[in-house]
Subunit: 310 residues, 2 copies
């Protein structure tokens, strides 16, 4: 086990509520931005452990989309705090599973005593990039942020029991935003290309690949980790879509065994998993000693799982 | 020491040569792209160790700017190879020091036996984002890619002796590209905002902050690592600007103690450090047993140093 414990966490979401049938979506209002949601989540996390930003030893921004192309987003959010201590800042990105990848990666750095205390921020602003012409995704996403502060566990056993990631690149172009960086600079934006700068998901194709690959992924995870899904107290999956119950049913997970808030919260891109983890901690669905599986699929197609002892 | 060895490396650069006075710059010609340079560098690296992409256990894209906002660039380059094995793909970004950060981070994963063999790709296309109105940076940058394949060292001692990163966020907005992601979506691109989508560097201000912070960084690195700069056989610095000799002179490093190819190659953003490391290996400036310091400053302002035993 890679020893670590959560000492603080926080979350924020869009204040403007949209209803699509029974589905509630949270989008930024005119007073909110990627930065304000990020800061609210971090402020809550810091308050929970009575620390300040300068008590951090590493800041990781773990999201699909950053604030700016340059510099890295971790530096920009640290700048918002006017941090005067030279805390290293780094971005880690595996799209929707970025938080899982960051926690997994950082657990090695903490275990090896490279850094004592790490802030991981995930913040996403889907509403800026969704395409009204793609009804399914247009009505699916919410804006949100979640922040976690972790440090080495010393008093009791807690931490990362096992992590696994797979990336099946046959699906790399089935979920994408093509424009905005090197492949298509903003200077090429016009009426004909505007869709290239928006989120484009081939939903049924992605779902077919997920349905094909996830069961074997879970089998491998169970075999390699030595933990069966039955040993897990709570699965915290990426709230990818309304197909979540179908995927979980296929894995034999009962309704009470996983967080399913797609209707209430929507897909918050990489923020879904840490937001749900924060919610689970708030509501006592997960507590000290709980075994939790953070699990998600991401554009790539990436599948990621991390077993935590809370 | 975190044991690892370089088993393959490769590099590519822009084929169109521009001269600004004595300064040679390499920019992509019409047959090249971010992807073609990436593939050339990876192909060379794979050839050097007689392996294929499917022999990798992790692919890390470590650059300031990716191909697309979604998915992560590591997945996109793996897709270019049509990889059928689900190799995990991840992006790590600290702007110009991304390669150093990725190698530093990955060394923990290799040391802990999470992954056996890792491909780190750094590829940058500065020519797409420089602003003709900013003469200094417009005449400074080149396009390039470099790839390294590393695995655990078992036969003889080699690997990461020490790593240090600092990010001084008072400089976060002195080197930036503001537009293209959440803070300024491509839809806001027009004649008035076009400069926001291009590289913007307050050169003299950045240089003042570098001059102020780098000497203390090196003092700390020497103290914490137990290695003096005099113990280092070759310093491989980011080819940030023509001020490189001034910075090195201030640190007391003699001309033969560091790679200075700013005139011949220009600033290749995050690709500078791995490109120079590949060049040093090719030219025998660095060989088995050499102690090397990878060193760079990046937008952020990040300062990063990694001592390697080759």
């Amino acid at each position: 086990m890679r020893n670590l414990k959560i000492i603080g966490y926080g979350k924020d979401k869009g204040n403007k509520i949209l209803m699509f049938g029974k589905n509630k979506r949270h989008r930024m209002d005119k007073h909110q931005s990627h930065f304000t949601m990020s800061k609210t989540a971090i402020d809550q996390a810091l308050e929970k452990c009575s620390l300040t930003i300068e008590d951090m030893d590493l800041i990781v921004f773990a999201s699909a989309i950053g604030y700016q192309p340059i510099p890295c987003s971790a530096a920009l959010i640290s700048r918002e705090y006017g941090t005067r201590k030279p805390i290293p800042c780094m971005d880690i990105n595996t799209t929707c599973t970025s938080f899982i990848s960051a926690l997994d990666t950082v657990s090695y750095l903490i275990d090896a005593d490279r850094y004592k205390r790490v802030l991981i921020l995930t913040a996403e602003t889907a509403s800026l990039g969704i395409n009204p012409k793609q009804k399914e995704s247009f009505e699916l996403f919410s804006d949100a942020a979640a922040a976690f502060i972790i440090e080495k566990a010393t008093e009791r056993a807690s931490g990362v029991l096992y992590g696994l990631q797979q990336t099946w690149v046959e699906g790399a172009h089935d979920t994408e935003i093509r424009g905005g960086l090197s492949s298509m600079h903003a200077r090429h934006y016009n009426e004909e290309t505007e869709d290239d700068y928006l989120f484009d998901m081939k939903g049924p194709k992605v779902l077919r690949l997920v349905a094909k690959k996830v069961p074997d992924f879970i089998t491998l995870l169970e075999k390699e980790s030595g933990y069966s899904l039955k040993d897990i107290d709570m699965i915290i999956p990426h709230q990818a879509s309304r197909a979540l119950p179908l995927v979980m049913a296929k894995l034999g997970v009962p309704e009470e065994g996983y967080m399913n808030y797609v209707q209430e919260y929507g897909n918050m891109i990489a923020a879904s998993v840490p937001y749900m983890l924060a919610l689970a901690l708030d509501e006592g669905l997960v507590k000290e000693g709980s075994k939790v599986l953070l699990f998600g699929t991401a554009a790539g197609l990436t599948i990621s799982g991390l077993i935590l002892l809370i």
